[in-house]
Symmetry: C2
Subunit: 258 residues, 2 copies
DNA sequence: AGCCAGCAGTGGCTTAAGCCAGTTGTACGC
DNA sequence: GCGTACAACTGGCTTAAGCCACTGCTGGCT
């Protein structure tokens, strides 16, 4: 019943028909779908219902709806892949850039970094746990990164560093020079990054992220919680970053242990 | 204007108020929100508008709506993490299971495998490219996996193997015995998995995936394209799997190369 | 005690109508 | 020739009303 009835629902029927037309390339990427009023007339339903159908396609990421213009079949955008060499010390040495910024460069894109917040803050519990910091005891420095590709914001992130490491001039210097020299400071203090742990999930964006990343409706974000680990197994840096899932991917080259 | 006006829209106003109440824990995880009719009366709007507001929260993954019962603040479900030891040869040797199945066991969950399709098929272009197979030349065997945790479907996937490897009895045997011995066959033919490449992205589920994985509205899926690479750098197996993003995460332990 | 029918409350979906706002082409006036 | 105002399109959002299906409780019957 459920299945059969679902097929009968006008909004689903219209959505299905449009979806099929897109799959069969009757409507091709970039094409405009019939207007809501057209669809309503054609399927003898209320405009609301036709609108609902288009809303479903939008939620699936199949179409882009533009106020005053219409609903357009979304082009298959080639994804910007974040490469597996993101955490190579060689890249870091040669470029002097922090990993994400190096990545942005490697992609041949312009990158900018904003440092709007520097100071001692209380880290979220999951970050505190990964840094082995008693949550209410030691504070952490946060640095906010914005990455852009051709002026489109691609990624926003925040790095948490124990205050002991941040103290001194590292962050202030970095903010001034924009050289991303934070890893130099890490090495001064005896932390050489040896392993990284990355925990990955995806979710729908929060409203602020929708704005910051200019995310169209229906597009999820990938969230990565990155932990940098030094030669003695100590976690000394945690970065949480969020990126649009439709323009980005993660690409890992994993050794298989014996 | 945009910002101010957006605040004025009744549906946004209601959604904002509810979102704030949830953040302030006036409504806690598991609590039921006021009914659509209640909200409409309280905010002096039509029921449709209150419904729209709840729809927004649902799309953000904040609430679960249950027919006949109400809208409930979603509990923070502890994610089932797919561990970093997924591709250890040791795991494979000791358990005799294929990696994903080993993982499902490691999590202490029941796992089942369906093998509804076995045969020569034409692989999608991206798979053909990763197996270095001329797309229209060599066919590929597909195996469909379903993984369950406590009877809830968690992951669906399909593995593509060049016909030369699949030929013989491997897949049929596996289907019969359920022992996941496919890696034994790989080794017979001189392919020992040494590296894996994983390409990760996220998107909204397709309708069939919504059904297969019982995905609530507003929850994205994580899609992984896994390529197994042998000791000579040859790709010999590609698996594409999809999982609910709200119950699962990927967890990588990455060596940082020098 | 146990079952079951009915009722009240919930969300699911639709219709019909209207007003607002962004977009684009055109006809008119200078 | 140019520009401006308008008309005719587009989607955005809301109201008001109704019917359906699912849920859970309650009270009455066996």
């Amino acid at each position: 019943m459920n299945q059969a009835e679902r097929e009968m629902l006008p909004s689903r029927r219209i959505a299905d028909a449009l979806r099929r037309s897109i799959a069969e390339r009757t409507f091709r990427p970039g094409d405009r779908l019939p207007s809501e009023r057209d669809l309503a007339a054609r399927y003898r339903t209320a405009r609301n219902t036709a609108r609902e159908a288009i809303g479903l396609l939008q939620a699936e990421g199949l179409v882009d709806v533009r106020h005053g213009k219409g609903a357009f079949v979304r082009r298959q955008t080639p994804m910007i892949r974040l490469g597996a060499d993101r955490y190579s010390n060689r890249v870091r040495r040669e470029t002097g850039l922090s990993p994400f910024r190096a990545e942005a460069q490697r992609q041949g894109k312009t990158a900018r970094v904003d440092v709007p917040e520097i100071g001692r803050i209380k880290p979220p519990t999951d970050v505190a746990a990964r840094l082995n910091v008693p949550e209410d005891d030691l504070s952490v420095v946060a640095r906010v990164n914005h990455y852009f590709a051709d002026d489109d914001p691609v990624q926003i992130g925040i790095t948490y560093i124990p205050w002991a490491i941040a103290e001194g001039s590292v962050l202030a210097t970095e903010a001034k020079t924009g050289t991303g020299s934070i890893y130099a400071r890490f090495e001064e203090l005896g932390h050489r990054i040896t392993r990284a742990r990355e925990e990955i999930t995806a979710r729908m964006p929060r409203p602020d992220e929708t704005v910051a990343l200019a995310i169209p409706p229906g597009v999820p974000v990938v969230e990565v919680l990155h932990t940098g680990i030094d030669q003695e197994g100590r976690a000394f840096e945690v970065t949480r970053f969020v990126m649009r899932a439709d323009l980005n991917g993660l690409d890992y080259d994993l050794p298989v242990e014996d």
